[in-house]
Symmetry: C3
Subunit: 364 residues, 3 copies
């Protein structure tokens, strides 16, 4: 009898102290005030406005259990706090896994190894104007992931992830002639439709990584684009300098489209840090991939799995730069004030965005 | 002054340790890898694909307060983790109640007593291919519930629930002649529009239950279908065997449509368990209830309250079977690995689904 | 190396006990059973039905960190439990801030100071039939808020909030001549598009407050309506009496539209409280503001920022009254049973709503 009730009612009557012991509530509150001045294209009027926003504020529950024999069960459910939209919570990394001498195996929703391979390169992460995701492809969090993290071997760690398309994914193509949008047959049916792998090396001041993503566009499209990312960071204690390079390979349809960046910071006093970042890409990020259109004869308007971010659009006449400078002040290890400025430019289209921002971060 | 601020600001400044003491964070992480091979109908091409999914993973907060005089206040807010859809959290059981010598009274969203009456019958619960809900009606979680659980009396417990339709519910009817869908006038206005009751008996190795649901379809439809469920489980320590029977009564419109099942498991070694389950139904679950069409002259395309699951569709020429076998291995009391196979068949339509799955469960 | 993994995987392996220490899980479970009898207009048929509802049940996480030098970081993420709709969680107050000798500064989503200025006036807060929000304008929770709360100075506290419209807001206008809806150009671009300020005074039995909201409707509409609210409450220990007055100013388009109310309660025995409330308004709350139509020549069908509640509709021939009586019984400091009755009437339209309700509140 107890068994039945314990499922539904009695569960509420007994607070299992043991269970509570390892369920950790955690999160991050990050809000900014920002002024954004946008010129959509050459000669167009600019729009200037102020905003107050939550910047990927989050809450989560995580924990682990020692299973004996060196085996540990881990879980992690993390949610985005949607302060602006008013619809509660969205999704961040959510997984269950087993960790042991062999490394860690996870199932669920997770950042790709390629995204993880950036280490501490991004000095303006999460910020709507500043994050490397505005310029560089590959900043993906995907569901339906099987991931593996190796143990560190002499400073070297391997991370791999396989992503299943689950039939629900297809590529949308726009036929300008008939002004219609067609979709390819959703044929992604394996556990390995998309692959992301990364090797990470950490030794003293050096962090270096190399990562590779391979995407399948299904049977209808004869193209399997891929992305290569290399990251190098030198942590000099009082300062840090980093470089990143991304190359998007159109599967021999046309030449690669590349992006690269430099970032650095310098500690100022006991609690301050000045930081700067410069990013460059051959072409803007876009869902309308002009290079891929060469394969299909059609314009690709929505590519890859819904969860896989779009690539660079392959327009050779529209180079992108994003430059950011900023300052951080630690009120404590967990609480940070920051301010900064970002300028984004596309030299072909003439699009320009200038943003000033200041904010507060509290980790818990 | 303190009173006003405590509502809004000061609340954040003071962490009431006492309140925290009985708020228990709990949940379950359950993810599987699955291969599904579906043949939609006789002679049709089959579709085969792999997937990685969260299986009703959940998080919740619950607690209780001793009110003195044998009275206890209980609360329980439980949410589904929507790993796949990316939209944060969905709803599971959510209620507040009072417990005492008289039993427990609850208000909120809850599994029906008929669903609760299954005890530990379902060996493949929650699994997309395996759960008894694929074959049997009545696996409902409903909102707007007033529920009562009696104290155990010599092994016998009574559970009852009343569900209000709150005017928002109506039945959709499809008129094939005019190819239009019409809806009945939403006339469900009482606290007892739908009723679910169950008697549960537990004594030594024996668990037995009998449960009954009665549905109101409103004033426009002269039909009040009902569902009867009986469950019997023998727990032999090293093994368990169970039987379940469901009979859907069309309110004298036509004969009953029935479903039944057998399940069992056998412990293997210290931490293993082999399990099997066979389910049968006269006809598939469906929202288009052919028997009910005999009352209305119209095809019912969406029946009952939105929260009440559909019944068997009453097609006498389309018998359903679902057979599952599997193995569970306990890594600890809270962490379980499992693997299994399910075959679902409709002998009339020729629909077939074969699924292989393996997964990990971690309770916290 | 650790740095990279700590972002994603290792985070789950280590449960930081220190972090947990000040993350407080809190909430409120409030469910009612209600009978509602609605007559939509003079001579129309009434609709009578029962319901079981969650009344702004909520869960949240909050905490603070002592930053030294008298400075404290605070955070507060609170979510509504959507028991009825089934879609998990909605939003309540969500913010991060810094508190010190200068007061408290917050960024995020928050009740306006005008709403906060009501103190303990509302005897039937949150209830679908009873809350002052049914009759009085200004009961707003808004996002994109910068708020300031002063320290108490001799019983006096100042609270101010600035709300940015973030260009997303526009006013919808209905042109009856062409039967089309047009929207004003969304031109709200400052941090101070909407303003809410309040002065609160608390001294012994006296609580008094004065609050003011100013709304911007953008460049296209030559109107900046405002709202003034005064509240006075006397807390006599065994009893409480309060009065509130709201005046909506149409920016000289037409006369003010006003609302006022009286409320009180009387303690009965050790744990009981009888309470009553009477509210009056010149005209009903509405999104179709007749007075504003005088400015535009068009009917305003959706006014202000989406998060700012509508005003009184300015119909001088449709006075509103809402009368409520009720009883509360404390089972403990945290658990309360209550029952009550509310009658709502519009004397022009003839709309009438009578509601009986009983419920249980549990704070945690």
């Amino acid at each position: 009898m107890k068994k039945v009730l314990s499922l539904a009612i009695a569960a509420a009557l007994v607070a299992p102290a043991a269970a509570m012991a390892d369920a950790t509530l955690f999160g991050k509150a990050h809000f900014i005030i920002e002024n954004t001045d946008t010129t959509p294209s050459k000669g167009a009027d600019s729009t200037d406005f102020w905003s107050v926003d939550s910047i990927h504020s989050r809450v989560g529950v995580k924990g682990s259990e020692d299973l004996g024999d060196g085996l540990t069960a881990v879980y992690h459910f993390e949610f985005k706090v949607n302060q602006d939209s008013g619809d509660g919570l969205g999704d961040r990394n959510q997984f269950v896994g087993l960790a042991g001498g062999f490394g860690t195996v996870l199932l669920g929703r997770h950042d790709t190894p390629l995204k993880m391979s950036q280490g501490k390169f991004d000095q303006f992460g999460d910020l709507p104007h500043g994050d490397i995701a505005n310029v560089m492809p590959g900043e993906d969090r995907v569901d339906n992931v099987i991931a593996y993290v190796s143990p560190a071997m002499g400073g070297l760690t391997f991370v791999g992830a396989a992503v299943s398309g689950e039939l629900g994914d297809s590529v949308s193509l726009y036929d300008a002639g008939t002004a219609t949008t067609i979709s390819t047959e959703p044929s992604l049916d394996s556990l390995f439709d998309h692959i992301s792998v990364a090797g990470l090396y950490s030794n003293g001041p050096i962090f270096a990584s190399l990562a590779y993503n391979s995407y399948s566009l299904g049977d209808d499209l004869d193209a399997d684009p891929s992305l290569l990312r290399g990251t190098f960071i030198w942590d000099g204690g009082m300062w840090q300098a980093g470089a990143m390079f991304n190359s998007w390979d159109w599967d021999d349809v046309t030449g690669d489209t590349d992006s690269w960046g430099l970032s650095g910071n310098l500690k100022v006093g006991a609690n301050g840090k000045v930081k700067a970042q410069y990013l460059y890409a051959d072409s803007p990020r876009s869902t309308a991939n002009k290079a891929l259109a060469a394969v299909t004869g059609l314009e690709v308007t929505d590519g890859f799995s819904p969860d896989i971010s779009v690539s660079l659009d392959g327009d050779a006449d529209n180079e992108v730069t994003q430059f950011s400078i900023g300052y951080e002040h630690n009120l404590s290890k967990r609480t940070i004030l920051h301010a900064g400025y970002t300028a984004y430019e596309e030299d072909g289209s003439g699009k320009e965005v200038d943003a000033f921002f200041g904010g507060i971060i509290h980790n818990f």
